[in-house]
Symmetry: C5
Subunit: 350 residues, 5 copies
């Protein structure tokens, strides 16, 4: 909520004003430096951007900035590393769509890392990536480090480290896009679960679940959709700083994003089908309730009338005095009941 | 309503006839002159277009015409500043879609400034902008000055003032598009509110609210949609009078307009989902009402029949004379009731 | 109906056969000649195509042929003015979509003039326009002259008359497209009216109205849709016989056609929303009716049972002999009623 | 059904195997030769492909093969006239979509002739046309000759016979596409009829009719859709063997196919609107039934209770002994009834 | 389920790690070598990739790898035949969409062979095809050999064996796409069956069947959709390794895939129409049930009231003592019933 306030407050500022619009509430910031080549890797937390600039570049130098709320510090980083003012604005505005922008000497990439919260709600963390010839700078809000396992793997040598900044970028983006499949899996399981419940015994609460799943699916789709275009652009081998050979790999990410989108579209279809089924199941139930009511009513209403008739107090009322009047009443009642049941069975209501 | 009349009246005139089709009812007009360079800024209300032409151009000269109902005056401004007749027509016809037209020595831009009225109704004010090499002319209907805060910021130096007419245009358009987010925010809150009410206890009045929100969303979408194309054109750096460097900034506006459109589409989805939920909630309620009716009916109808039977006046009616006949009646009633309840529970209706 | 017959009869003829497929039932024909330049204008009804050919061309010569049923005469006009056989076919087949065709020395344009009949039904009159270097030939069915006011304005000098055949074409097309807005206005008012009625008290008759409005909207849309493409083509300045300068004006028509289409799409949306509201309002009403029924039933059914019990004729029936039995019955009845009302209120049904 | 079997049987054969997949059950085949120039025409049924090859070519030579089930004969025709194996396969597979393929020395065109069966079901007959420089070869299943009237007209000289193979092709395709309008007309009348019935008194049977119309419309649409693309290609004047001049005429076919498609789309819209109306009419009826039930119930249930009360057998029951008790009962009953009627009228249920 | 686990497990690995994500549970692998020319064919199961490499290439050499779970072996095959690492990854990830990738010296094709399981559920088996100048390598999971009949036909000479690797590829792809028609046929029959049942007597179970068919249709569509693009690319004759002449044949596959997609879209339409019909049939039934209830209620409720009246115990109750009171009661009852029946008939409820 407070982030929303920030967000719209920004909107009333002149363009070019740096304002942070995200969820982080303190100004904590962590700078993590990684520099490596085939043989060697240095990885350490540093205290200031100065330290980063001074550190020798072993081949590729990667600065991971964790924490965006300290606008002043971000501005300083921007000045020291000569980052375009528009890029800084976009980094701090954490409500961007994923996008790719080419600048003269760098590429700028915004992408969302998705997390699935406890109550099946998707949470997005904006990752900004600046790619230069031999340098990668990433920005993320403070919190769980989005690239923890990548750093670990780099250190352990699980990745080939002889490669350029485009390969590191590929590793980062691939990791994020792979994460989409995890979300997909959980959503898929939830949808399956909801589907089964729907088939068994749909209650009102299932509708809310379906509706909430639909919202997550729509949010997911909006997030992934622009990633497809980005991956497509990067895979065409026409982007500066992305090697032809690396672009083959981005084709893979492109495939994955299409796959995710196709799954999402299928799930949207499934969910709107579930809505239909829910609606029809309510109608069916109403129909069933009505049948029972009608069965009871049509059988007993004539009988009750008959009983009412013989409860009348007319003085000249011959049947009442008959020896087998009462027995006759029951016989007539049974005949009426049998006829009604037969009629109802002919209608397939019983 | 009267504006509508004007609007359609115009339609029966030969082309080229200047007729004002907006909502302004008097002919009040205000001309505000702003001229500035890096060091100096002059800002004043002037009385006639002559004054504007005579005033020295410090670098950029901006004429803001507030009030369109005085067609004669508009025509004079057009003649003095050599504005194409078609442009004048478009300025006075306040029901244009947003559009961008390139002329030989100028750009013509129509865009809508949106306001949200009290009762969540969107009101649009048409802004026409003519951009020349060193001059910007804006037209708006009389009323709240759409560019008040921009003028204030220019004066205070919050904007860099060394830049060209394209930068001023960017500032104006950016300001208007930023305003769209404010509308979005309020609409989003209204939709959330409606959604919560819908989940809690949907009444008939909620349907009207949803329907009215849908109309606002559609109106909003129609307004923003062409802005996207305009921003896209301006960001491609191929438009005369828009510098390559400035076009980077229009890319930002393009991103924003896409973001707004995406949000709008999501809200349309949400709203049509709400319609479904509303419909299903009515069905659910009917179902529940029916159940209650059926429960009461199926339990009491047989009992009433039984009571009716023993209210009959047959003379030969053995049960009536039994010692425990009455007690027996109650026992049978309780058994029937218990059986019915069990049956209804097996159907999950109780 | 008879025109439909004609229409399909044509379809079984070899191609190239001239057959009139419209609604005109007699063979009346009127030829109106207009020729003008800056200074002078001649306007008169003529009796034969010979007269037209002989008349001096003051600058632009316009032949308006009113009445298509006389196929022989149309064929003669075609031969005298060297009109392609395919064009003649299209002129006589009054069920064309709007279209634009470029021929070697002429442009051929088909467009629909729309009229709104009393019962909110749209009627279309096909206008065929042949544009040559210094000549315009128009064809329309006999009936109200579609270009009456244009002729009047030309005569009065309301239009600049120094311009070419493309400008006259613009005037004609602009006039027709402007007419679309009048239709739009009336449809819009009808939709608003229907909407209000729908909100107040939807009856069955409103559904038919909505449905009929929908059909008009769809017909309207199909008519206007191709006009957009035509205006777009003409505004691109790449069409022979249309001057670059005039093409600016066609941009205006293009804008108008897009505006109309956008409005139509909005109305389609509105109408399908109205269908939903109608459906939900029926459900709501059924729900309300059910509630009333259920309230009465659930309150009185137990009471009626109770009354039935004390109407039984058991001999050993202690309550009947109690001093305050009857009073007790009423007390119990009131308690049951109160409990039921409380229960129903807890369900928000009362 | 048997044709379906054939169809899928084919699918398990290696590619290049010629298998007939249509409905024809015997191997009857008719070869009709037509050859003509400006002055002369020869038209006769021939017995073998040899006869065709030997016959002098007067200018254009047209072979119409009627009957496809004799695969061997088709293969022989293919060999003698040097037809590509893929074309032969497509000719025999009568479940092709309409398509146009350019080969080195010929054009290959597949198109569907549509017939409307008695029970408003559309039947499609596949027509394959091979166009060469001075020769046209057509293939159709045995049955009613699809080109009977064209042959008659050619003989009678209703068509100009001095023209090339492209003009003959135009005549054939035009004739087929014109046939679509006949189908359209009948469908349109059926839809109108269904619409009227729907408005009057919708029964269950109308739903099946609507549903069946929808299927025909969808089938129609699938058939016509590719024809549009074919006509478009042929009208662009870039296809070998189709003269620039003739391509003007194909523009006409293109217009017609668009017109048909537009009508189809309108009918689809209409039909889905009819579904909505049907649904809402059921709801309306249920609503009306409920109202009647509720009116009777709410009026009589309290009265019945009252009657029940005075039917009780309490000994101490003062009202029973009142002189005007019975009269009072009726007065109270009438008051209750009047109150209920007033209440129901306030709800607009009566 | 376990395959799903595998699938997502992969996602947390660094890129380039080979992990099998399919359903095969053991590591069985079969290598089948086929090499042939016009005159001779060798076909045998081999034990190792070495054997394959050593075997003489008669003209075209085809290695069919059946069984993917043995990742180590796949990797070895990749190394010996110089297959790009990304291709190996894609082969092992059996959840790819169909795709076509051009590499420097080879084409890589992924396509799905579909099987229809007993319970009308579609099962997909991923086929990976690598095409080189004179070699084709295919990969499939262990189980039924997808290319059994192709191998048989090759041996029997049913295919011309003088052709290149592109022709073999065509045979493989054609065989797979032909299989889609079999699936289509069965689905089509199931849909017809469901449709008939729906028209006869729709029960709840039919809804589940429709819903399940819809899912299969959607899955089918997602599978076939990318095949269309692949066939289109291959048919354009611009892909290295695919001869111009062979590309004609791929045009055939393109046609088939479009045909399948069109049928699928029609079935989707049909199915959503069935949903509507199901819903409306429930409403109809409810309506009918309501009518019966209303008929009984409206007839008997007044009668029961009347009987109740004459069951009252008022002492001053003149009618009770009338000689023909009881007879009169019946006469009045019959009149009321007749009036009610007439009324109900006027409403067309009886």
């Amino acid at each position: 909520m407070s982030s929303k306030k920030n967000y719209y407050k920004k909107k009333q500022q002149p363009p070019g004003t740096l304002i942070y619009t995200g969820n982080q509430t303190d100004e904590i910031q962590k700078l993590i430096l990684t520099t490596y080549n085939k043989d060697k890797i240095i990885q350490k937390e540093i205290n200031s951007i100065d330290e980063f600039v001074k550190e020798e570049n072993l081949g590729i130098k990667w600065l991971d900035v964790i924490g965006l709320a300290n606008v002043h510090s971000i501005e300083e980083i921007g000045q020291r590393l000569r980052i375009h003012k528009l890029i800084l604005e976009d980094i701090l505005n954490t409500r961007q769509r994923a996008k790719l922008e080419e600048y003269d000497d760098s590429l700028f990439l915004v992408i969302k890392k998705l997390y699935l919260l406890e109550d099946i709600e998707i949470d997005a963390k904006q990752i900004s990536i600046i790619i230069k010839e031999d340098m990668v700078i990433t920005f993320q809000e403070y919190g769980e480090d989005a690239f923890k396992s990548i750093k670990k793997r780099l250190k352990e040598g699980a990745y080939v480290r002889a490669l350029g900044s485009d390969d590191l970028t590929y590793a980062l983006v691939d990791y994020i896009v792979d994460g989409y499949f995890d979300i997909m899996e959980t959503l898929s399981e939830e949808i399956d679960k909801a589907e089964n419940e729907l088939m068994d015994d749909p209650g009102k609460e299932i509708l809310n679940r379906i509706y909430s799943l639909k919202r997550q699916i729509v949010f997911f789709r909006n997030t992934v959709w622009p990633v497809r275009d980005i991956a497509n652009t990067l895979s065409r081998g026409e982007v500066k700083l992305i090697d032809q050979k690396t672009s083959y790999y981005f084709r893979d990410i492109y495939d994955h994003s299409i796959q995710v989108i196709e799954l999402i579209e299928t799930y949207r279809d499934t969910i709107s089908g579930m809505m239909d089924i829910y609606l029809s199941s309510i109608s069916s139930k109403t129909n069933e309730v009505m049948k029972i009511l009608t069965i009871f009513s049509t059988i007993f209403i004539p009988l009750t009338f008959l009983a009412g008739v013989y409860g009348m107090n007319f003085i000249y009322f011959p049947e009442l005095k008959w020896r087998y009047g009462y027995l006759g009443f029951w016989i007539v009642s049974i005949i009426i009941t049998a006829a009604m049941i037969k009629y109802l069975k002919s209608k397939k209501w019983m």
